[in-house]
Symmetry: none
Subunit: 343 residues, 2 copies
Amino acid sequence: MTLKEIAQEAGVSISTVSRVINQSNSRAASKEVQDRIWEIVRRTNYTPNTSARNLKAGKAPSGQASSHSIACLFAREPDAITDPFFSQLARSIEKEAFKQNYILKYSFTAIDIQHPSTFHLITDNHVDGVAILGRCNKQLLSFLKKHFNYVIYTGLNSLNAKYDQVLCESILASEHVIEYLIGLGHTKIAYVGETQNEERYIGYCSTLSKHKIPVRNEFISNVMLCSEGGYRGTKALLARTHEMTAVFAPNDLTAIGVMRAIQEEGLRIPEDISVISIDDIDMAQYLSPMLTTIHVPLDEMGRMAAKTLIDRIQGGHHLPMRISMPFYLAVRESCGPPRKNTI
Amino acid sequence: MTLKEIAQEAGVSISTVSRVINQSNSRAASKEVQDRIWEIVRRTNYTPNTSARNLKAGKAPSGQASSHSIACLFAREPDAITDPFFSQLARSIEKEAFKQNYILKYSFTAIDIQHPSTFHLITDNHVDGVAILGRCNKQLLSFLKKHFNYVIYTGLNSLNAKYDQVLCESILASEHVIEYLIGLGHTKIAYVGETQNEERYIGYCSTLSKHKIPVRNEFISNVMLCSEGGYRGTKALLARTHEMTAVFAPNDLTAIGVMRAIQEEGLRIPEDISVISIDDIDMAQYLSPMLTTIHVPLDEMGRMAAKTLIDRIQGGHHLPMRISMPFYLAVRESCGPPRKNTI
DNA sequence: ACAAATAGAGCAAACGATTGGGTAATTATT
DNA sequence: AATAATTACCCAATCGTTTGCTCTATTTGT
C-alpha cells in the first residue's frame, strides 16, 4: 500500500493523504475526507515507507533519523512506577507525546538502566529524549546526559540549573502545608519520610524555624516513601512519644501508612493527630478520613514535560527552562485543630 | 556526498557514477573515468544512502533481526497503568525481561494503539512480542495478533484458547471470596464493579446460586473499576437499600471507594458491613480497616508472563499455554460475621 | 453587496539511487 | 568504404513521501 493507492481509492490527491496521515495541523482537511482516508488506512494496514520518509527527510538512513520516540525513566527507588503519582504522571506524558506523534518507546527504572548487561540495549536503540521522573542522583544524571541528547526532569524536587525541568516546587508546597498546620494551632509537627536531599524535608525545617518552632529530632522519622515506610516510621515515632499533634508525610502513599499506624494505636484522625501530605493521587479523596493534601496538577505537569521535551528535541528552545506548576491545598478531613489534652 | 556531487566533480553523469560504484559489469566505463570516480569516492568518504537504495529496491526499510524487545499494553480502560495492580505487574514483567536481556520497549494503552495517527509509530518500530495486561476485547486482540508475532495475555479474566496466557483464575478467586463470606454467615452480599464479560461477576453469581442464594438486582451496582466507581456505586447501592451485610468489590481500588462510601454513611466495617475484594495491592494492608482480599501473586505472575512470552519468541514452545497462578485469601480486618440487627 | 480572509484540495518539485533506453563515437567486419 | 557491433556515456523515469506554492470555493467582515 502506498499513498498513491490510497489517494486513488479515496479520490483525492497524494498530498492530501499525506497531510491527513501526518496530522499536519497547518492545513486541515475536511472531516469527511479524513475519515475516508483513515478507513482505507486501517482496512489496508497501510504503513508509511520508512525509507522514503527518511530519504525525504534528508537524514541518515539508520543513523540519525529521528525515532520520534521518547523514554520515561522512573528514578525514585524502589519501583516508583507502582506509585500512582508517577504512573499517572507517566501516563499524561505518554498522552501528550502521542498527540505530537511521538511514542513512549521505553520506560525503565533507574536500577535497570545502570545495569551493565542491559546497558547496550538501551543505548543501541536510540530515543530522541528522556523524561526523568522523580529525584535522581548526580551520577545517574550525568550518565543520562552523556547518552541521550535531550533530557527533561519532572517531579517535586528541583534540579541544578542546566536541565529543563517541570516542577511543582516542593519547598513552597511543604511551606504551605506547615503554615496551614501552624495556622490551625499546631506546633508539635512530626515528619515521616525521607530526609536526605529532600526538599520537602527542607521546607518542613525552614518553615518551623521561621516561626521559631524548634525542629525536634524525636519528631522525625527517616523512612522510604511508601505505605510501608509511613507505617513503620509512624510506629517508631509513636513508640518514642505521643506529643505531636500532627504528622506531615511527603507523599500520599506514605500518608496512607501513617494514618494506618495512628489508627492502629486507637487514635483518631484528626481529633488526636492531624495528617497532611503532598500529591493528591486519585484515591486520596476516598480514604477515611479523606486526606488533606497538596493538589499537584499531575496531568498538566506531564503534558508540559512532554511538550517541553519535544519542543527542545525539535529545536524550539535552547536555554534550560524551569517551569513551575501551581498547586493548592485540597482541604479535606484529615486535619483539624490540635487536641488540648495529652494522650 | 551524493552521486550527483561526485558526478559533477568527475564531469560525468550520475548514471555513470552509479554504475561504476556498483561494478555493474554489463556496462563498463573507461578505466580513466573509473579511477577518477573512485578517487573522489575515497577522498570524500562517500557512502551510498541506504534509504534511497532501499526505496528504489522496494525492500523493507529495516531488517527482521530480533529487536530483543517486548511491549506492554494496558488494555483495561481507562488508564489501567495508574492502577497499582497493573503497574506492579508491568514492573515485574520488565524486571524479568531485563534479566533475559530483553528490554521493555513500549508501554501504551489500548486507546492509544488504535488511534490511527499513531498507528504507524507502533508498527514501524517492531517489537518481538507484546504482553497484554488486563481484559481486552476481541477486536483489539485480533488487531494485535495481526501486527505482532507473539502475544501473551496476563490478568484476572481468561481468554479464549488460542493465546498464551498467565492468569489468576478469577472465577475461582471470586468463588473463594463468596464462599468465605457465606462461611461467615452472610447471604446478603452486594457486588460493586463491572458486570459485562467480567469473570469476577460470573463467579459471584454462580457461587450464590450454588448455595441457593438468589442473585438480587438491587445488590448489584455496575461501575468502572476504580476508587471513584466503587464510591459512586456504593452510594447508589446504599440509597436503594441497607439490607446487605457484605460488599464484594472486584479489585482493591474499587474496594477503597466502597469503604469510603460505607464509612461516610456512618456505618462500620466490618461490624455493619463487610468488604472484600481481589488483588492485594501493597496499600491494602495499610487501609483502615486493613482490607481482606485475595492475594494475587503479582510478581510471580509478571515473571511467568515475561518468561513465557520470551520462551515462545525463542521458539521454546508452540502450543498455546494457559498458566494459572495460585492465590490465597489474605484475611485481615474488613470482614466479619453479619450483623444481627437492621440498620 | 463587495472586498478580504480562509479553508480545502491539488500540482509539482524535491530527496538519492537505480536502470532501461537511448545516442554518439569508436572499432571490427565484409 | 559502408555496415554492423561494441564501447562509453547520458537522459529521464521511477521508488514513496513531504511540502511550498497555487487555485478555487466558501466564509467573514465592513
